[in-house]
């Protein structure tokens, strides 16, 4: 059950998405805290089958800036996983981030030790997070972004299981212009992050995907060919349309 302020936040997000119109953040003025924001997020996905989660605000610097001491998470549904071409007209304020994602081959219960989490990781893939915040200019407090599903919009996944662990860089090009790049090392320690998520959400299931966050700031999306290059010559292509 949502409190009255949580309901207001929920409705503001729903209407902003429906009208595809960004709006000013309001969690603070409503007095909704982080726990309330996660309740708002959960309410938005009641009845949806979750294929996984995304981690956000994974850098310590970003967390400090937002007054957090951990990452945040958002939910990923089957409909959010895309292949090929996506129309930007579906989104409010689309941005793109280069990411890695893990797909679990075993369940990860809350409190699982990092070694068990490492064993449960079935494969690591390149990922592109097509972020979409309803909060104007992506200026938000932690409860705002959490209530808005950690700015989750749509996702692309690579088709090659990457050698792991691996060093290297993620470099995201949009029509051959480098728009975001950063080291894979910035996403470490992967097992500890997945373990944190498992505890935060009450356990992860075999087959679920976890987008690990981005080692670089998001870039504005525009129509064109997205090309993500990663370790070992790996490649992920996606097309953005108007």
């Amino acid at each position: 059950m949502l409190s009255e302020p949580e309901k207001k936040l929920f409705e503001a997000i729903v209407s902003a998405r429906r009208e595809r119109r960004p709006r000013a953040p309001l969690a603070q003025s409503l007095g909704v805290d982080l726990a309330g924001a996660y309740r708002v997020q959960a309410a938005a996905f009641a009845g949806h089958e979750l294929v996984g989660y995304k981690l956000g605000l994974v850098s310590a610097a970003k967390q400090r800036q937002m007054g957090l001491d951990s990452p945040i998470y958002g939910r990923v549904t089957r409909a959010m996983l895309r292949e090929g071409t996506v129309s930007l007209a579906e989104f409010v304020q689309p941005r793109v981030e280069p990411e890695l994602a893990v797909v679990l081959r075993d369940a990860v219960p809350p409190g699982a030790p990092p070694g068990a989490v490492s064993l449960a990781i079935g494969a690591v893939f390149l990922g592109i997070d097509l972020l979409d915040s309803v909060w104007e200019g992506y200026r938000f407090s932690a409860p705002d972004v959490v209530a808005d599903n950690a700015s989750g919009g749509a996702f692309f996944l690579g088709e090659r299981a990457l050698p792991w662990p691996v060093d290297g860089e993620l470099a995201l090009y949009l029509d051959s212009e480098l728009v975001a790049a950063g080291p894979v090392a910035a996403l470490e320690p992967v097992a500890a992050r997945v373990a944190w998520l498992a505890s935060a959400v009450g356990g992860l299931c075999a087959g679920q995907v976890v987008f690990l966050g981005s080692p670089a700031a998001a870039a504005p999306a525009r129509p064109g060919l997205l090309e993500l290059r990663g370790p070992g010559g790996s490649l992920l292509l996606a097309r953005l349309e108007a």
Binding site: E159, W164, A206
Partner: protein
Amino acid sequence: MADHVVTLDVDSLAKQLEAALVTRQPIPPLTETLGPLTPEQAYAIQTRWTELRVAAGERIVGRKIGLTSRAMQEQLGVREPDYGSLWGSRYFPASGHRVEIPSDLLIQPRLEGEIAFLIGRRLQGPGVTLQHVLAATEAVALSVEVVDSRIEAWRIKLADTIADDASFGAFTVGPWSRTLLQEDLRTLGMIIQKNGVPATEGIGAAALGHPARCVAWLANKLAEFGVALEPGDIVLSGSLARALPAEPGDTFVVELHSQPPLTVRFV
């Protein structure tokens, strides 16, 4: 049509296929003898045949996926692959990267080069993606499937091959590799030489664009029958090149990028 469904004698048709297998006397296409059959009816015949074989001591060691190339789909006028069971009695393990296939078990064999998946975790559709497949796979290997048809002169329509265990004949696999699993399976190149002469080339992407996509299709298809891919199952994901007719005395060398070549001799 409804009556047709009810009166289809899957048991007798399965026994005809078994008799053709054992006597090596192919039968006319079921779709000529019986008229049009739906894929569902054809799978019912296949399932019954599998049950009969298992009852007689056969072991199902995995699955094969067929009709994964655009060329094969166009030839049969279909837009979907099909699948069959891999029989333990028709698994010929390689020794020192060599294997002999007894021709006297086969009717009209053809050789295909494929990528085999060793399933490590249960894959239960619907909703299985190629990433799920890669995450749940223990290792992959170069494999050779000998396809064969219990239907006269390979005069098959879709329902004929489905009923006929997707034209499965025999198979072998090279060494299981975890390293190969982390390659881009789409770009793996394959060359098959027949009697020392290059005969055909293939590439991973020839199977529905990605061999793991074929396995995902299979997991989702099997879910329609309440069946999952289980740990230990071997899945032959689909031919990467043209099938090559094989006669007694023929020697094929099948090479896949980074893997030891596999020599297959028909005796």
